[in-house]
């Protein structure tokens, strides 16, 4: 088990290095560059050379890459080309915002999704079931950025003063208003994920309800409520956990759109401006963060699967799976 985790973590590090290398070269291959973005139109050649030197861009590409790897290994992410602040400082400021929105969205929509799915499966073919199914299809079909725009319009123009439609209040400054400013972005971010979770759980619960082991438990006189909690949910949660993990991945791309629409100063917003300005160190650092979050989330889901599914666990323990 520990060896497995160790191997997976080593694998993650390798994937990260590959991703960062790709981003490093793609950024430099892209037309335009930080110098143009920094100096604006028609700079003099002398000014250009000076800025290029300051950014370290006058050195050969392989030297830049070697320096980048060296700095990365020592934990130095460099300074932003534009604000001249340490990139780690910017990340430390922006990441908690994104994490807060994502975490709230995740918790809220996982709970809603699981509850709706379980309820729909339990009351299969009832009005409530039909309602949940229709709503979830609609929720799945709505692009999150469109929903975000609608929410901005509704809460910005028509229903004023209930929830802030734009902007961000840090938690340390004003916890209450911080919570209020999380609501709409989190809602828009996780809606689709909630719908998929609900549909997956419903389908796998209905599947489980048809199994021999549920029939046998019923034939032994077990009550429907106990069957639901001990057997149906316990087995139906296994495929659902996989889906929940995959949904985490959609959150990462989702924050890019959501943060820009709601003007939330998180990683998603930072990544867009960093790439637009060719702010190499900041763009790389944002990539590092999002890729790490994604990979770690996947690892956690795999480990969770290991906990939930005894077959897989046994495979590891007796060595038939590696």
């Amino acid at each position: 088990m520990l060896r497995y985790v160790g191997r997976r973590v080593a694998g993650l590090a390798l994937v990260l290095i590959i991703v960062l290398t790709l981003v490093f070269f793609m950024l430099r291959a892209a037309p335009g560059g930080p110098v143009d973005a920094y100096l604006g139109m028609n700079p003099t050649p002398e000014k250009r050379a000076e800025v290029e030197h300051r950014f370290g861009l006058d050195q050969p590409l392989w030297v830049q890459y070697a320096k980048f790897l060296g700095n990365l290994a020592s934990g130095d992410l460099g300074r932003s080309l534009f604000s001249d602040r340490p990139v780690s400082g910017i990340i430390a400021e922006r990441l908690p915002v994104t994490l807060e929105v994502s975490l709230v969205a995740f918790l809220f929509w996982v709970v809603i999704g699981l509850a709706a799915g379980a309820f729909a499966a339990h009351r299969r073919d009832s009005f409530v079931d039909g309602f949940i199914r229709v709503i979830s299809v609609i929720a799945l079909s709505i692009p999150s950025f469109w929903l975000a725009l609608v929410l901005v319009v509704v809460f910005g123009l028509y229903v004023k003063g209930v929830l802030p439609s734009s902007g961000w209040v840090p938690f340390g400054e004003d916890p209450w208003n911080n919570m209020r400013s999380v609501v709409l972005p989190a809602f828009a971010l996780g809606l689709g994920a909630g719908a998929i979770i609900a549909r997956t759980l419903r389908a796998s619960m209905i599947e489980t309800a048809r199994t021999d082991y549920v029939s046998f438990a019923r034939a032994m006189g077990m009550s429907e409520r106990v069957i639901l909690s001990r057997i149906t949910l316990r087995n139906a949660i296994i495929p659902t956990a996989t889906v929940i993990g995959l949904m985490l991945g959609t959150f990462i791309s989702g924050t890019v759109l959501i943060e820009n629409v709601f003007n939330v100063p998180g990683i998603g917003q930072t990544i867009v401006s960093a790439f637009r300005q060719h702010d190499y160190p900041l763009a790389i650092a944002c990539t590092l963060i999002t890729a790490s979050v994604f990979l770690v989330a996947n690892l956690v889901v795999d480990l969770l699967y290991f906990v939930l599914n005894p077959r897989i666990r046994a495979g590891f323990l007796n060595g038939t799976a590696r």
Binding site: S215, A217, R218, A314
Partner: protein, 333 residues
């Protein structure tokens, strides 16, 4: 003759004079399908005494499993009991509320499922599932006694394992330990409990069930399509065809003197009765659509069928110690 008394002959009632434990009268079950309603079980009547084993035999789709499921009132959503009466120890099972029925399940009417490999939850250790169904298992002696009773003493220290870590035979014995030995129900329903097991394990399980009958005194309805199995275990045998119980007789009687043309054809189709090289006999035609026929369902495939057979479903008649649903029963066919 009134339907309720039709089956009141020697073979339908118990051999002893006591009132039967289970009394099924004119049971009818209908399935709603896309092509309309299909009668899966029609006019099935039988009695079962305490300590007696009744075998129900028939081919796939003959309704034998549906009868069992109706007895536990666990029919699928698209099936419905449309007529009949099921008396169990003085209670009308079909009139019970679901909660009342649930109290009978397991404790008084047990079930051994057809597929032991998939009948325990795959996500929970076996030992914990045993405790779900049986009280007092924390006492190690009780657990040892229970597992020893089904010849599973060797797995006592493996109960924290999951179902997939056990063999089919072990799981079936484990389920028998729970459903029969642990719960000690008055009535045990066994739905082809040996079909997924290999031959040696099959024999072990049958022996175990017979032993339990003698030890616990439970009555059993044993469903199978295997005549060899059913002859070993049953006191009486009911033969089902297209949803009807066409013949019911004591085991010896049925094998020595089958009265219904279908029973006769079925016995003639047992391979063991033929010498090497002699072609096996089969029953011509298929059972398809037979449960919708107006007359006797077997008439289209029956060598002895007369015009009446195609028009009118025969009333069950007593011939010797057998009950036979055939217009020509008792004739020398």
């Amino acid at each position: 003759m009134a339907p309720a008394t039709r089956a009141g002959g020697t073979a339908a009632t118990s051999p002893s004079g006591d009132p039967p434990l289970l009394s099924v009268r004119d049971l009818a079950v209908t399935f709603r399908t896309r092509n309309g309603e299909v009668p899966a079980v029609r006019e099935v009547s039988f009695d079962l005494a305490r300590g007696e084993i009744l075998g129900l035999v028939g081919e796939s789709g003959s309704g034998k499993s549906t009868v069992l499921t109706a007895l536990t009132r666990m029919l699928p959503r698209n099936a419905q009991v449309t007529a009949g009466h099921i008396g169990f120890d003085g209670t009308d099972l079909l009139g019970l509320r679901e909660a009342g029925m649930r109290r009978l399940r397991g404790d008084r009417i047990g079930l051994i499922p057809q597929r032991p490999m998939t009948s325990l939850s795959p996500a929970t250790p076996v030992g914990r599932q045993l405790r779900w169904h049986l009280d007092g298992l924390d006492d190690a002696g009780r657990l040892r006694e229970l597992l020893g009773g089904v010849g599973l003493g060797a797995v006592l220290d493996r109960l924290d394992g999951y179902p997939f870590e056990f063999s089919g035979g072990q799981l079936q014995r484990l389920l028998i330990a729970v459903a029969a030995l642990g719960k000690q129900p008055d009535l045990l329903l066994a739905d082809e409990p040996t079909t997924t097991l290999d031959a040696t394990v099959q024999a072990q399980v049958l022996r175990l069930l017979l032993e339990l009958r003698d030890r616990v005194g439970l009555a059993m309805v044993f469903v199978t399509h295997d005549l060899g199995v059913i002859s070993q275990i049953s006191d009486r045998i009911g033969v089902m065809y297209a949803g009807r119980l066409v013949e019911i007789a004591p085991t010896r009687e049925l094998f020595d003197a089958p009265r219904h043309p279908y029973t006769q054809a079925l016995l003639e189709a047992i391979p063991g009765r033929y010498r090497r090289g002699e072609p096996l006999r089969t029953i011509p035609g298929t059972v398809t659509g037979a449960n919708r026929l107006a007359g006797c369902p077997f008439a289209p495939r029956c060598a002895a069928a007369i015009d009446l057979c195609h028009e009118e479903n025969p009333v069950t008649r007593e011939v010797g110690t057998s009950l036979v649903g055939c217009h020509r029963a008792g004739e020398d066919l």
